[in-house]
Symmetry: C2
Subunit: 348 residues, 2 copies
């Protein structure tokens, strides 16, 4: 089969590799029909985090079940499914309490089960990992585009909002206008926030934030306001109780701490990068600003978010502003790396 | 009047200084009868944090009201009172929600209102700051020794436990066997924890932790177990949901992250020191361990904790293992610096 293989910094090649096969009675083999490039794929792409070379890459799989092991009961060949960015058994202490990312039988994509940017993946623990899309929606292309972000960024933005404690009538600030930040805006509105202030560095992405329900947007960066923290603090009359940090960089955490109201909470979901000097806790300590979140257990949120996507009240698909074939996946990486695209959909 | 004055690293002198006077109608003048040396006083003493020189020092005042401004209604001359380590108005948004340390009219001790290690302090916002001790307890020396830690360390240990979310039947780990850690043990038991694992570097202090209700103790450091995190993780079958970080050092935060169960919470109250490289968030991110807490709003906890101390069900006084006169306060600093004493009571 064909699959994207990571060979090092800015070197993604599509190659012939061996197709994964069922190895365990709990496995399912899935033919990928839709997948994407993730902001976190860009860290190894940019040489900013370690990754084995060569190795399959991609962790946002959606496709058709091809074959199942004999213990699999929740899906069968022909079903349209998606999987979160990690494998989870669905039965351990942590899966049962909704923390699938700490599953004691967990695993990632990209090892010998194949990367999601390829023609097939083998899903271990298929009953705990795969989410079945009901047949009546299973072939609707528009619906599938809206479901695909549930593999990662929609669940991750939702986790930021949940971790920040967003609820009915709240004011919150979303730091970051990438795919996760935009999904954080959607999630905050869905949880009932009445004011959502979106902070980013790209005017065009902040337009999508408005489309997604942001009540105010604040453009920072070289073309934006000088003092983002001061500006947002003024807008919120002293800071917001709920702040979603959706970048994963030291500067974004500093902004989040700066715009949080004393006693508030920062929900963070971006993999902490560029924090060579670590995080200065003083910014949080003095005003008792809590830091909650972490790697998002998106499997835990599958049922409730999928229901809303399928009934049409939640649609993150505008984050996909570029589509490439699997053979051209390297072009997708380039476009995201150069910030030409927010998120790239890949069709094997 | 006489007062301790900080002149720089390891240089505390007791000198004649001007007595503070009522300046504002909301002020009260308090003659100090009991105070203490705090672990956080040791940071400037050791030259590890900046402090003006010369400046009055001490922030844990208890005494007798000498005089009140005309707007003060909650105390009158002759009342025995104590004050938390910060001044708070009691009326602003943050005081009303129990976050007195973020009071918009707040202030510390040690400026022109005098340091608590002296004969008098002027308390701004006396109605919001001072806590009155009922007359029937006001002259009982044993009771006063038990109340005095409410100025700081008992409320701070309690804040760690509250921030960590300790409740009935919980298992928790307390990192640190200083005065705050020992008070954290007391607080965790009081909140209903059924297992309290105390982790420290001093066998004699861990004995007090047991006296305070720790069900297990783990001695680390040069004379203790090699792998504290591994040992505590085994004891708790995979980590504790609730961890109290009561030191304020990078190593203690690392231990706290290490012994936290995935999805758990670290309540931290030690002023973050020795974190030149900041905090590595990865330790928390991967398992969604929340970081809550900060500088403790001990004024918020005054009523409930004082009630328990006065009825005799809560007694932190064993932390005082040395008493000095104000004239000999430098000896108190020395003893705490050299870890001869856990906490020093000072009697002007």
């Amino acid at each position: 089969m064909r699959a994207a293989i990571y060979h090092g910094e800015r070197d993604i090649r599509v190659e012939d590799v061996e197709r994964p096969e069922i190895e365990d009675p709990s496995d399912a083999l899935v033919r990928i029909t839709h997948t994407c490039v993730c902001g976190s794929d860009l860290w190894p792409y940019r040489g900013q985090s370690d990754r084995d070379t060569p190795s399959p890459i991609g962790h946002e799989p959606m496709g058709i079940v091809k074959e199942v092991g004999e213990d699999v009961t929740s899906v069968e060949p022909g079903d349209r499914v998606y999987a979160p960015f990690v494998v989870s058994c669905g039965e351990c202490e942590f899966c049962r309490r909704g923390l699938h990312t700490s599953c004691v039988n967990g695993d990632g994509w990209g090892g010998d089960n194949g990367g999601a940017q390829g023609e097939y993946v083998r899903s271990p623990h298929a009953d705990g990992t795969l989410v079945r899309i009901p047949d009546r929606h299973a072939d609707d292309e528009d619906t599938l585009r809206s479901v695909l972000p549930l593999t990662d960024v929609l669940g991750t933005g939702h986790h930021a909002a949940v971790s920040a404690g967003v609820g009915e009538g709240d004011t919150c600030v979303v730091v970051g206008d990438g795919a996760v930040g935009l999904c954080g805006v959607l999630a905050a509105k869905r949880l009932g926030a009445s004011r959502v202030v979106a902070v980013g560095h790209h005017a065009d992405r902040l337009d999508i934030a408005e489309e997604f329900g942001a009540t105010e947007t604040v453009l920072g960066g070289s073309e934006g306001v000088d003092d983002v923290v001061g500006h947002v603090t003024d807008l919120t009359h002293g800071g917001a109780e709920h702040v979603l940090e959706c970048v994963g960089a030291a500067s974004a955490m500093e902004t989040a701490a700066g715009v949080a109201r004393p006693g508030g909470t920062v929900g963070y979901v971006g993999v902490p990068h560029g924090m060579g000097d670590g995080l200065d806790l003083f910014d949080f300590f003095g005003d008792n600003v809590a830091i909650r979140g972490g790697i998002a257990p998106v499997r835990a949120y599958a049922d409730e978010l999928l229901a809303d996507v399928l009934q049409g009240t939640l649609d993150p698909s505008p984050i996909f502003d570029k589509t490439v074939s699997l053979e051209n996946v390297a072009e997708g990486y380039r476009a995201m790396d150069e910030r030409e695209a927010i998120k790239v959909l890949v069709e094997p």
